[in-house]
Symmetry: D2
Subunit: 367 residues, 4 copies
């Protein structure tokens, strides 16, 4: 009996709608007990006051608690849930359900999608957004990556600073990385991404320092997707890679978009996952094998894309990250012919300035 | 001496910044006296309270009045100005300056870009959004199209209803198409687009009726781009086509996007204009010959793109047209590798529901 | 043993935070079994895609199900919950918990706050926004009002049309009031408010007709607050009045704001409830006796306030109802010195055009 | 012949509409040559990409250039123009035209409104937001205030940092106060306000230091209103005070709102200007004598108003300053019964945290 990963993509009619996942369970695949992670793209603003994320998590937790016959608190320990707010442009709200089962089937010599979850210890407020978070994250990834031939994407949910946490640190005479709670989200995302870069050898240890976090955009991981949440103090990590020890017909590959309109990078990632659009948009047959796309989006800090001015950073009516998700969603939809894409914002140290990682999970053609 | 059309694309740093156009004039090309039309993509919300359009027009008018040594009012008669608000996602604010000069050069046997402007009579308020507007528009287009072998894009600026205009009509016992001034913008854009469809034989006369305007989405033009403005009561029309009687190295072609993510349609339009991306994104050499892209964007009315739900119509924080421009801008940027694209919203009867026309102006490779 | 109404006002830290209500239960007052209604002011946009309302209802339902030892579905039958989205300007998110207990105390000869809930039958889609809804609502109110000397405020949660419901009606050959689902919310709110007006004798039966609903702003109730929700097909009604048969020290009074800045109307309502600011802002002692303020806000349809233009209806970045809540919230906060105010938008037939009802619940000074 | 100040308040239909001011000139009062300053409340978002301010200034400049027979550049030197974007809630877009004429009338022994304008030298980028700006501003105010018995309001337009200006300073080895251009607006507004506080003796010189600017909210002026603009490098100052040497029936007074809902402070300012509402809203007769209200609004930094949470700082859909203007506009409209109020945001060091100055200009009753 070896492990086999499965990924199911289902639509939601609103952030509290988990009926499509229940339908999967009712149909018997996957078994609720095999679910290890659920990613969701919800239709909020993806910023500070986006409550669609918490609403979706609460709805998922309630439903899973019943299906698993456990307490809601227990569900949170068993299933990693990462909700990304913001379906601007044409992005379509959806859930990605990741499960790991056992099978008698032989391992796939060419390798198959492997999924692992890992957790760091709880961080002290003064560690958030600093090297302590970077190193603990890298350590957890190294431990969990054993047995994976390649890591293609690392999704991390990380903590942020609140007024209470800053005060608690101060009461111990400790100083935090920033007193701006919103800024702490970016620093925590950045430190977590640099932890991935360190673990995967994308960045050298001696190139890293507290001062570089959130400032040196030349340092980044091409395989990290991180998001900050107020409900935890540790980093929750989901690794996606290929392993010759796993069974199944799923493949994952990735590439890095150099800027927000880097269609060729998206097409390279698709080809690496065995999907070929001949340069254009995926034909139906190929698209049928496309399971999921995970990408990060952010406005370039210099306010330009290939020399032309964009207004994302100057628009006081629409948050810059909302513009960026809509744009990158359009570029990836152009390549794939699909709008149910997990494009999330806040890409500090996740890909180059203005660009970002793009990972593709697909089903093999020969199966 | 025959006619030769020229098109210059320049950036603006803000809606009142016409310095780049003045630099063109200072360099001698084009001659301000040859300018027939200026299109501008400004960074407003593109909706009701978008004053970036009027600000840009006022700035252009002031500058041209000085350059031409005429009164501002005279400038408005000489140069058709159409400002489209909304540079969501990665769209870059820019002006497109269209001029027509005379040359000793021979006409291009293969045809060259030809530009013509036309105007209808002023409409009575009760004619706006109705067949009277459709027919007068078609008539003006037919008259202006003489000598053009093919028409590829027709840009129209049309009037809208205001409380005062509705009252004036009522005082004569006339009833208007709608008492909702915002809705009147859509009806006027739709009637103008159907005027194009009628003139170009895209729709049969007997398929048209007042009741169909704004409601029967099966009726549309694949070559119309219309926008409503409060400052006029007539339709101002700019025709873009190919003519064997004109000189120059510019070519225009068009296609119709079936939906918002129809990359293949964009690529067909590029190829028809002599630009080939081999299915991917335009390489630099090809992109250097891309002069302008004109397209329309709108959210599909059924709330879906290829079966997947989009949230454009339900988002009460961001107007649906803003989402649509960001998305279509991303798709066209994916194909062209450029963000200075004239993507405008409000596509009633301009292309199919959820899709829209896309026109490409390019420079010939062999020149 | 006679009835005594209690009202508790508690803050929420986010739409899913019901901890403050749990703290009340833990302290023993009120008894969860006595709770008849919970109103909540949540920090969403109060428009189409405001999910803070459903999130709050889900959180309340979960918590009450545990406290009452019943199924979530049962909670919905026992406790009427009305969440109003939108805390613009300075409005503070909060819950109002209404409970009815029994006491040996004597009835208050001067009358005391009395609360009653009522429900209509489920409506057919074609009845929504029409006289059938008006009359069924009036009937339910008359039945529930028995024993109340005066009715001062009637909060109603009413259904709306969805694409599915419109289709179901069509399948039976029935036509609905509108095919615009967003517009159906306004028609349902309006019909429900006219039901209140009819029941309370504010409008004569023969002045009402389907055509007047949503159009004749001269017809309105000065004591209705209605909101539409997708989760029900009937009208859920909460009546607030004074009764000589009830015990307790709570008083309710109301007045009607003629426009959005009608401070005198707010001050009249406060005085009628026994609170006097001497024309200015409530002093602390008086404010301590102010339990709750319920009011409706909407932009005037003519775009003016006392002759001066407002931009609420032209702002395409901020929904008009958000501007209106911020403004009316400021006016009532000026009078009361408090920002935890239940100011909700969408005031069709609830007060005059641009104005709205304002109800005050206070504690008697002499107790 | 002594000086007499006049103030005219006129509505605008859109930011480019100066027709109402032209109507004043056509009627002969004021004489365009007497105009010293024009304040405008325009309907933009009041934030980074609010172009309604520049549009209004351009429209005013064009019109005045014609009326004065001078070059547009000359107009800018003669007339101080300060446009404040943002008419949230019920605020009504309007212009305030300030003029100073000569009269044979006797000076008003009780004092009359006096207006003076002053300018600092151009600042170097590294001086912006620092003590150099504070001291130069204080110096200019002291010089201009001579002859005024009391100063009640000081409106200042100040510069901000741009990428170019920061680079220019760097090229000289100078470091600027911040590299965040948006943050530089707040520092410049704050330093200018502290300049007022220093000049008027509201803050002691030794309490001031670079580090306090933008951080120590305990230091503020109760009479400053400052706004930053990209078009200048110096501070342009307009002083409003009372002088026994001036003629006329206008009076100015001010007070300080301790928080956003401080109605009593507004009522004190009204009474100090001779307008009495008896604690409620100004009756028509009193309101007829109310010429203008100038106030500043900002969200409290602790996220609370009298202990109750507000969501201004957490709302990623509506900028916090927009919420604050809507709220304070509602409070002042409650007191005055008028919505044409000059309420502007960005109140760093202008009044206490969460509050702000409020100045009232009124006509004497006895004239």
């Amino acid at each position: 009996m070896i492990r086999r990963a499965a990924v199911h993509r289902v639509a939601m009619r609103h952030p509290g709608d988990v009926a499509a996942i229940e339908a999967l369970f009712d149909a018997g695949v996957p078994d609720p007990r095999d679910v290890v992670a659920i990613l969701g793209k919800t239709e909020g603003n993806g910023c500070v006051n986006d409550f669609t994320r918490a609403f979706a998590v609460q709805s998922l937790t309630q439903m899973l608690a019943v299906r698993l016959g456990t307490a809601p608190a227990e569900v949170a320990h068993r299933v990693a849930m990462v909700m990304s707010g913001g379906t601007e442009g044409g992005l379509s709200p959806h859930f990605l359900v990741f499960s790991v089962g056992r099978t008698d089937a032989a391992a796939n010599p060419a390798g198959a999608l492997a999924i692992a979850t890992a957790f760091t210890r709880d961080f002290a407020p003064e560690e958030i957004g600093r090297m302590a978070q970077v190193e603990a994250t890298a350590e957890a990834i190294r431990a969990a990556a054993s047995g994976m031939a390649e890591i293609h994407y690392v999704q991390i949910k990380c903590p942020l600073l609140t007024t209470e946490r800053i005060a608690e640190a101060a009461s111990r005479g400790a100083t935090v990385a920033t007193h701006d709670t919103y800024a702490s989200m970016g620093l925590s995302r950045g430190a977590s991404a640099l932890g991935v870069a360190l673990a995967l050898g994308e960045v050298a240890r001696d190139a890293l320092a507290d001062a570089a976090i959130g400032s040196d955009t030349a340092l980044y991981s091409g395989r990290a997707g991180t998001s900050a949440g107020v409900e935890l103090m540790r980093n929750e990590i989901i690794l996606f890679g290929m392993s010759p020890d796993w069974a199944g017909d799923l493949v994952i590959a990735h590439d890095v978009m150099a800027d927000a309109i880097d269609l060729p990078a998206v097409q390279r990632a698709l080809r690496a996952a065995g999907l070929d659009a001949g340069g254009g948009q995926l034909p139906d047959a190929e698209q049928a094998r496309l399971v999921a796309v995970l990408a990060k989006a952010e406005p370039s800090s210099d306010g330009r894309i290939r020399g032309a001015r964009h207004i994302m950073n100057e628009d006081s009516d629409i948050n810059a990250t909302r513009h960026a998700r809509a744009l990158v969603g359009g570029v990836i939809a152009a390549a794939t012919g699909r709008t149910a894409l997990f494009v999330s914002g806040g890409a500090e140290h996740q890909g180059p300035d203005g660009g970002g990682p793009v990972a593709v999970i697909a089903r093999r053609a020969d199966l």
